[in-house]
């Protein structure tokens, strides 16, 4: 357990998200244009994107995006993955050399199916979560930056628009994109520390600092989520996964845990609501997030914006036709949608959200995935 003696780096940020609720895909250009408006909210020490619907041809596989420090960590991770998964494909994530991003760690992605005999007994998603935790805590120099189906996270050290250019995001097409520009207070050359943070198909971009980190992390640790990255965003991601996937809480209940209403409000609610919210707060008291935050949480089906219980950070949503936008600043939305139908300002603890209308579609265009260097024995049955 590295929990007890961690080094936490506070940071300020810009966040943005765009979703097409009909699951129509669009290129990464749009989100890059959007986040670039808020350039001054980051300082070039972290930027990243989460994109949904980008791998429709392999949508049944868990797409693992890996960041490696060196060759041995890659070899060890691939050996590990082969123990648990059928490796349908694997390659380096294509990047372009740019003037702004000169060095990068090794970036790989794998398309994986859990070995059937291993998941007979346990929940498949739980199986995947365990493996992600094992890599992140057990393999030195390896970090899983995303592990969901038909989605991926692209992040690194740099301004977000430069990171987007580096990853050639204009060539990707997804129906939901979120982005993050980071303003950490000190340099960290570690690409894994950038946002979004992701687990399964959850991704979180986060503007803020959690003053309850220790309480949250210690609780999550007892729930099987060792927090090793010392970032607040990791804590939020695990909390959302625990609440919504494992404990099947509704979106509103999840928000009432993370940004709980105050007791004096709860006490004056009608008895059944009061009872429910009291129970939520009692059971999940350790997951209340204190301190300023604005977050965009996304998964395959939805995009959620949430601010802390006293709204210490800004967040605004806008809507037009089938488009839904969430951003730290209105200007960023206006850049890509000059005349939205309506703007909604976030209220403390009340989620802003949009859900996918067409749940089966999830990305019509997709992205070719064959630009990178493939694994030896690529896309076939070298697990046998």
């Amino acid at each position: 357990m590295v929990l007890e003696f961690y080094q936490k780096v506070p940071s300020g940020c810009a966040i943005a998200g765009i979703m097409n609720t009909e699951a129509m895909s669009f290129s990464g250009n749009k989100i890059m244009d959007c986040i670039e408006v808020m350039h001054d909210r980051s300082n070039g020490l972290g930027g990243g994107f989460a994109s949904y619907g980008i791998y429709p041809d392999l949508k049944d596989c868990y797409a693992f995006h890996l960041i490696y420090d060196d060759e041995p960590s890659r070899v060890e991770t691939e050996q590990f993955l082969r123990k648990y998964f059928v490796m349908v494909g694997g390659e380096t994530i294509p990047t372009r050399n740019t003037a702004k991003i000169r060095t990068s760690p090794m970036l790989w992605r794998y398309f994986l199916k859990p070995m059937e005999h291993l998941v007979e007994e346990i929940d498949e998603e739980e199986f995947v979560v365990r493996r992600v935790m094992e890599i992140n805590t057990g393999i030195k120099g390896a970090f899983v930056s995303s592990s969901g189906k038909n989605m991926g996270v692209f992040k690194g050290v740099g301004y977000p628009e430069d990171i987007g250019e580096f990853f050639m995001l204009e060539e990707y097409h997804g129906y939901l994109w979120t982005a993050h520009g980071r303003f950490p207070t000190n340099t960290s050359a570690w690409w894994g520390g950038a946002h979004p943070f992701s687990l399964l198909d959850w991704s979180v971009v986060h503007n803020g600092e959690i003053s309850s980190y220790g309480t949250n992390a210690r609780y999550l640790d007892t729930q099987g989520y060792p927090c090793t990255l010392e970032t607040d965003t990791e804590v939020i991601t695990y909390a959302v996964d625990l609440l919504m996937r494992k404990h099947s809480l509704s979106l509103k209940d999840m928000a009432s845990v993370l940004a709980a209403p105050f007791w004096d409000k709860i006490d004056n609610m009608e008895p059944s609501v009061k009872e429910h919210l009291t129970k939520l707060r009692i059971i999940y008291k350790d997951l209340l997030l204190n301190g300023p935050f604005g977050v965009i949480i996304a998964n395959t089906d939805m995009m959620i914006g949430l601010t802390d219980r006293i709204k210490l950070r800004p967040l605004i949503a806008a809507q037009k036709d089938n488009w839904y936008y969430i951003s730290t600043e209105e200007a960023a939305i206006r850049k890509i949608e000059p005349k939205p139908e309506e703007y909604t300002y976030s209220h403390a603890g009340k989620p802003l959200y949009a859900t996918l209308k067409n749940k089966d579609k999830k990305g019509d265009k997709g992205t070719k995935i064959s630009q990178g260097a493939r694994l030896k024995g690529e896309l076939n049955d070298d697990n046998k």
């Binding site: 007890e4 309850s212 809480l249 008291k285 350790d286 204190n290 006293i310």
Partner: protein, 492 residues
Amino acid sequence: MITNNFPPKYKLNINENCNKCKRCAKECSFDVFTFDETENNIVAYNKNCVACRRCVLTCPQNAIELSENKIAFNSHFNWDYKTQNDIHKQSDTGAKLLTSVGTGLSHKNIFDHLLLDACQVTNPSIDPLREPMELRTFVGRKSDNISDEIGPQLQLETPIVFAAMSFGALSLNVHKALGNAARKAGTCMNCGEGGLHPDMVEYGPNTFVQVASGRFGIDKEYLESGAAIEIKIGQGAKPGIGGHLPGEKIDKEISKTRMIPEGSDAISPAPHHDIYSIEDLENLIYLLKEVTEYKKPVGVKISAVHNAPAIATGIVRAGADFVAVDGLKGGTGATPATIRDNVGIPIELAISSIDKRLREEKIRHKASIIASGGIRSSADILKIIALGADCASIGTAALIALGCTVCESCHTNKCAWGIATQKPELTKRLDPEEGGERVYNLLRSWSLEMKELLGSLGITSIESLKGNRERLRALDLDSYTMETLGVKGAGR
């Protein structure tokens, strides 16, 4: 001649302002003052003085000067005044030395070496005058998730309860004062092991009722009148030993409350004679739950000893809804001095390792932790909560609010402030309404201070400080202690 006639520790001087009103002679319950008719003046027998300060504070002429009687002792570090004096007392009587309150030895106070964090720039501090600050705390077993039934919960509006102090050790007026304060502040007192006096039944919704080894005053009605039930295994000031309330203290009221004959000694055995193992404890926990139909939290109080984490784990697995832990510096109405000063571990270390162990075992949410033993201020409370407790319990601090001057004489039944005594002429000195108001004020003041501290930490709910050791730093503690506390050194 053997040099056992030590000069008195304190010295009283009555100055020329004295108008011979003789009030001091009435006020002093330790028989210090007499009026000398022939000399027409007040004479003080210094040797009886315990420095309770009653005379000084009640003399209408402000004529009494109380000071430490400084006589020269050979400046030997090991064989100082106290050590020599103790030996003389023991060789005079052949008895063990009795004392009260918490230990006064200079064991390192870890609280004083822990510092809290505060927000600057990246995370705004929060102004408690503008934003709500929540101190509400629930004591009880929490379920694993929302779909399970949650156990009975005791709702406290501030994370402070009063420690178990029995009627017998304390006067009924003290119980009433604590009851009034607890009710007004939305928290709980603890009736201790002496049963619940009929006058106290109305305070039941704000009372932990205790089940101790003497089983005094326990029947179904008693258990049902409390808000929660606490099985007392140990006490910080006297781990591993029982209690003894002498027959002369067992007057009509106490006999009624404890359900024992008037004038008989009330003996609490060291162990519960039906608990010789953890399974036995489990039986008692479930017996009490059955009797009260699973409507109240049932917890267990232990003293902080070396093996406390393993014991606490066993207690939680045995079904307890809370674990109360009383540290080395916890107070008492009477105990052998050698036990008080030498047995147990500080509460800061005990809570840290219990919280850690329960988390490792993944059962931390199954019970609340109540910490006590030397908690002196709002900052101590926040520090113990950051180390892993859910709330703190205070005894001596509440008594000081009622006038206690820490004279360490509770076991004599002579408390001049009417607190630790049953003598009617003394107990009437304490007005339960006025006293209740003072103790309530203390809770209010500490609660406001806690809100101030939480605001500076950027936290709007006490829940978010629980176990949040990242917000603490250690100053001048050795690395082993810091590791046990799970706290980094200041500056890191």
